[in-house]
């Protein structure tokens, strides 16, 4: 623990009472933040301070706090999940910051992700895209097929697994200048399209998921590649290309 030290920071945080109110940036001073604490622990510390001052604590999303659920979000100092690469905000540590730093904390900004309160946005648009086709229809009523009965080429299995690593956090949308959800949808389409079990519904899946994506108001990908850089799970742009390919074949079918 020798390398731990405490730092004092200035926070500029987006505060918004509810979905309808107009929000604004508020400034807070927070002293004695351990560099060993995670970004969310730092926010907990801020909230304790606010509660002690009889002020409204900052609302932010979180759940697992171990980088697997995708619940934490936050646009920190101009980058989704902050300055570190391939991490979620719960896995971002205060050692990424220096004493005296000013840190901006904003919610994901997307028409499809409306702010509910402070830093919390409504990401149910992702759920609706998923419901539009992000599944395989398998009959599980007592006739379960052995997992290894259908051979899958190793290469495809690996690509599918990598795509399935997407935790639906929405950092791709947040960091894309177009607010495009194509990395997320590309990952969800790919994860199934690569497997024999998923091929059956592949045509309808890609058409339906893309239609839902467009209806939700996400922007159009211009291949800037911001999503791939900011994705905590390293989802590759290859998945967007695969979705584009799938969509092309599905459309001409």
């Amino acid at each position: 623990m020798g390398s731990n030290k405490n730092i004092n920071i200035n926070l500029k945080i987006w505060r918004q009472k509810d979905a309808k109110s107009k929000g604004q940036i508020e400034t807070y001073k927070l002293d004695n933040v351990s560099t060993a604490s995670s970004f969310l622990e730092m926010l907990d510390q801020l909230n304790e301070q606010l509660i002690n001052e009889r002020k409204e604590p900052v609302a932010f999303d979180h759940d697992c706090r171990e980088g697997i659920c995708g619940m934490c979000s936050l646009y920190i100092n101009g980058q989704a999940h902050g300055p570190a690469s391939k991490v979620t905000t719960c896995q971002l540590h205060m050692r990424s910051f220096k004493d005296g730093d000013t840190i901006y904390v904003e919610p994901w900004r997307s028409k499809a992700f409306p702010v509910i309160k402070d830093l919390i946005v409504d990401r149910s648009a992702f759920d609706r895209i998923q419901q539009a086709g992000g599944f395989v229809s398998v009959n599980t009523s007592g006739r379960t097929i052995d997992a290894n009965a259908t051979p899958v080429p190793k290469h495809d299995a690996d690509r599918s697994f990598e795509a399935a690593a997407c935790i639906g956090c929405g950092a791709c949308v947040a960091s894309c200048k177009n607010g495009s959800a194509m990395l997320f949808v590309g990952a969800k389409v790919s994860q199934y399209a690569l497997l024999p079990q998923g091929k059956v519904e592949a045509t309808q899946r890609v058409l339906n998921m893309v239609r839902q994506m467009d209806e939700e108001g996400f922007g159009n990908c211009t291949n800037t590649g911001a999503c791939e850089v900011e994705c905590p799970k390293g989802i590759s742009l290859e998945n967007i290309a695969r979705m584009n390919r799938e969509y092309l074949f599905a459309s001409v079918k």
Binding site: K12, Y75, K177, S180, L207, V210, A241
Partner: protein
């Protein structure tokens, strides 16, 4: 359902963007090869260029290609603007603090601005050259100076490889009709056809005493803008069409970067050469 989505959906718009963009890259290549003749130092450079210009404005196959080019530019520009407007709407509230330079290259974030500048360039460029070639009544015809017995004499060059003394036109024995046709004034019949002197127009454009340098500089700037547009655009088009394969990605990227640098550079060399080096 699937068919209608093929025009309206986000991904379909991207296919059209990519297809028209790549077709325009082909067009650029062809256009460049034609323009490079302007660098020729042969004494027949002007004639060869004008013959080429005539071919490019009359050959039926080239006509089809040029209509495809017009359509592509219009479609690409409209689609690009529609996409850009939609994309801005997808983020109604901007970030107070944003560092896009951390995860994207500048060109990729400014395709619409770059494209709009290119569009302005294309329009002015067409007014300067294309419109004159197609509509200008006062378009000069190709002439050549031949030494006849120690005295240099001007001749019009005709498409059958012949010559018509300029004197005869000046004196009214032969008249010029429909911009390029030589008529026997007495019999009022068409005898020969001349070449529009696009070479002369082009050289004069970049050598104008007052604005020649400015036009040369603006042309070079436009090519830099085109270079940035292609630097992101070329590789991006393949990704849009779903052509992303770890085996070929490096090749596509490298080729795209090379294309984005070499093609605009060669285009830009031409007016610079004309302005500073052609007598």
């Amino acid at each position: 359902m699937a068919k209608s989505a093929f025009l309206k959906s986000s991904i379909a718009k991207k296919y059209w963007m990519a297809l028209t963009g790549l077709f325009l890259c082909l067009f650029l290549t062809g256009h460049l090869l034609g323009n490079l003749q302007l660098l020729s130092t042969s004494k027949d450079a002007a004639l060869h260029f004008n013959q080429y210009a005539l071919f490019m404005t009359t050959n039926p196959a080239v006509k089809i290609l040029s209509y495809l080019t017009y359509i592509s530019i219009i479609f690409h520009a409209i689609d690009g603007i529609v996409l850009t407007v939609q994309n801005r709407k997808a983020r109604p509230v901007r970030y107070v603090m944003n560092k896009p330079g951390k995860n994207t290259i500048w060109a990729s974030r400014n395709m619409a601005v770059l494209g709009t500048i290119i569009l302005v360039f294309i329009v002015t460029h067409m007014v300067s050259f294309w419109a004159r070639m197609h509509f200008d009544k006062a378009m000069p015809l190709q002439t050549i100076s031949i030494n006849a017995g120690g005295m240099p004499q001007e001749f019009y060059v005709t498409t059958d490889g012949g010559y018509i003394p300029k004197m005869q036109v000046d004196q009214g024995q032969i008249k010029i009709e429909n911009r390029t046709e030589f008529y026997d004034a007495g019999a009022n019949v068409k005898i020969k056809e001349g070449y529009k002197d696009l070479y002369k127009i082009t050289v004069a454009f970049f050598k104008q005493p007052q604005y020649g340098l400015l036009y040369t500089i603006l042309y070079v700037i436009s090519m830099v803008v085109l270079g940035f547009h292609l630097y992101h655009g070329f590789g991006s088009a393949f990704q849009s069409l779903g052509a992303n394969n770890p085996k070929y990605n490096g090749l596509i990227k490298t080729f795209g970067y090379a294309f984005a640098i070499i093609v605009p550079l060669l285009f830009a060399v031409i007016p610079v050469y004309i302005h500073f080096f052609i007598k």
